[in-house]
Amino acid sequence: MASSKITDVLLRVSDLEVRFPAPSRFSKARWIVPVNHVALDLRRRETIALVGESGSGKTTTGKALVRLLKPWGGQILYNGSDVARWSGRKLHQYHKSAQLIFQDPYGSLNPVHTVSQHLSLPLQLHQSQEPGTLSEKIESLLSRVGLVPVQEIRDKYPHELSGGQRQRVAIARALAVNPEFMVADEPISMLDVSIRADILHLLQNLQNDFGLSMVYITHDLASAYYIADRILVMYGGIIVESGDSGEIVKKPAHPYTQLLLAATPGSPVEGPLPETSTGAPNLLLDRQGCVFYDRCPHAMARCQVSQPQLKSIAARHDAACYLYDDRPSEALGH
């Protein structure tokens, strides 16, 4: 990560922490920490995938990146300024650069607005310098996301569209403000299998054509491998491993990544799952030791005491695991 030139980096996140108040009966700790000291770089025109199960903090991280919620601590450097604490007019400006696409295309559109109404508000807000009337801009956006025939689609209501078409409207709406990056939170997981690939390709094409960066959030390693340049695996609010997509899938280093890979349908790994229990991670502030300790087949004494930091274990490959502390490369079979 450190090797990339700062000029390529659109977003540099360090020490990002999000806290939610904890129900008091669970613990003396007053907070749970769904996002715990997350650091990541998003380069221009790059797609990174945040992969993890429910409760891993991937969605909360995504929402913090586009500043739909205010982080408890840490920095989000965007073009050199820290947007983590921005509010008011400045935050409004930032929202034009950072757009979020939600999982549920049935819930994210207004049922009483037509397709063109969904697009006209963000287009008016954006006040772009490009020529053309509002109506022409709507039509060009719709054809960009493959919603044709445009004349027919523009006056339809969400209930008249299929799931895939709705997700295309949501994508068009995100593009309307001409953003620099998009966070796509499980954009295909509620769609039918036969149309998922088309939505992934649409995101890829738009990213190329508009020079966008993208954070793709998913629980599905296979689609992350398919679309992303780099994969960041999250567990219990912590990035436990990150690296080039092929590296993560071919040479997973962290025991949790190995577990996730073995459990993914169609994975080449056979036999029993490499885990010792099926518990959920502890997110409380006063938690001690490695977040994966309870389930880890390789747990050592020191894992119970402190959380290992994300460190380089090979070229462009980081893991947060004590297994790789003293023997950075041979453990991976490089």
Partner: protein, 330 residues
């Protein structure tokens, strides 16, 4: 497997929903057999009629009726049964694990009461015997026996799904219908539960009709797979053929195989299937897949294809059937 009597036999089943302004047919002339001790996967996308077919097989249709065909379970026509007879038969011979575990369980009853409820409605046993059996069942699905005293909201999604599976096998049925039993669970939990299902099934020797939209998952789990499109079964094939690049398939099955990104495949581009399934109110005369099919010919628009043995699978496609026939000079 062929010589055996099927445990579930659907013959020419059509189902129509009556709730809207006009009746809508969502299942069309389905023939499907499930044999003892096998796992048959039923794959379909939303609206394909796969869940409706499951409810038809349990005689649990609401606002819908079977307009043609018959359903036989263990040789008996369940639509000819009287109400009380059906109640006894259901769960003892055939049971169902539903899609949403939270909704399938009663929120104000403990897990133990719900299992006892199921046992007592079909068997005469004392409370002690019932509790003992309930504990055995929980052990089968790897839940702690003290789960009996807990309420559904105290359990995680995976634990609830295990309770639902425990209840479905409580009376040792010959057939369990599972409708998306792991959808919505995390991949690790999903895999754990699937492994458990397979293990219990091997020990208890029941058959499973496993309904899912997840192509990858079903193709590794099931011995045979049926693929449903727009209310019809378009292919019935051995699960292994879905991983065999030389096997013949229905164009829709081919489309599904290509549509998913795979971990094991580096270079392959996932390709979606253009278009949408037909509107069941305006169903085409010929093949329902014709508008989305790259192999479409004139005959496809004129008459509906029938399921025929083609290669090693049952396939309902004019074009694939013709190609196969030509190859063997028939």
């Amino acid at each position: 497997m062929i010589e055996q009597e099927p445990i579930l036999s659907l013959k020419d089943v059509s189902v129509q929903y009556d709730s809207g302004p006009e009746p809508v047919t969502v299942v069309r002339n389905v023939f499907l057999d499930v044999y003892p001790q096998e796992i048959l996967g039923l794959i379909g996308e939303s609206g394909s009629g796969k869940s409706t077919l499951a409810y038809t097989a349990m005689r649990l249709l609401k606002h819908a009726s079977m307009t043609s065909g018959s359903v036989r379970i263990a040789g008996r026509d369940i639509y000819a049964m009287k109400h009380e007879e059906l109640r006894q038969f259901r769960w003892a011979e055939v049971s169902m694990a539903f899609q949403t575990a939270m909704n399938a369980l009663n929120p104000v009853m403990t897990v133990g009461e719900q299992i006892l409820d199921t046992l007592k409605s079909h068997q005469t046993l004392t409370r002690e015997e019932g509790i003992e059996r309930a504990q055995e069942l929980l052990q089968l699905v790897r839940l702690n026996p003290d789960t009996l005293q807990r309420y559904p909201h105290e359990l995680s999604g995976g634990m609830r799904q295990r309770v639902v599976i425990a209840i479905s096998i409580a009376l040792s049925p010959k057939l369990v219908i599972m409708d998306e039993p792991t959808t919505g669970l995390d991949v690790v939990i999903q895999r754990t539960i699937l492994d458990e299902i397979v293990e219990i099934q091997r020990r208890q020797h029941f058959a499973i009709l496993f309904i899912s939209h997840d192509f990858q998952l079903v193709s590794t789990l099931a011995q045979r797979v049926a693929i449903m499109y727009a209310g019809k079964i378009v292919e019935v094939t051995a699960g292994a053929t879905l991983h065999d690049p030389t096997a013949l398939h229905h164009p829709y099955t081919e489309g599904l195989i290509r549509a998913v990104p795979r971990l094991s495949d580096d270079q392959a581009t996932a390709i979606g299937i253009p278009g949408n399934p037909p509107d069941p109110r305006d169903f085409p005369k010929g093949c329902a897949y014709a508008d989305r099919c790259s192999l479409v010919q004139r005959v496809c628009r004129e008459q509906p294809p029938e399921l025929r043995m083609t290669g090693s699978s049952l396939i309902a496609c004019h074009v694939v059937q013709q190609r196969e026939a030509k190859q063997y000079g028939i």
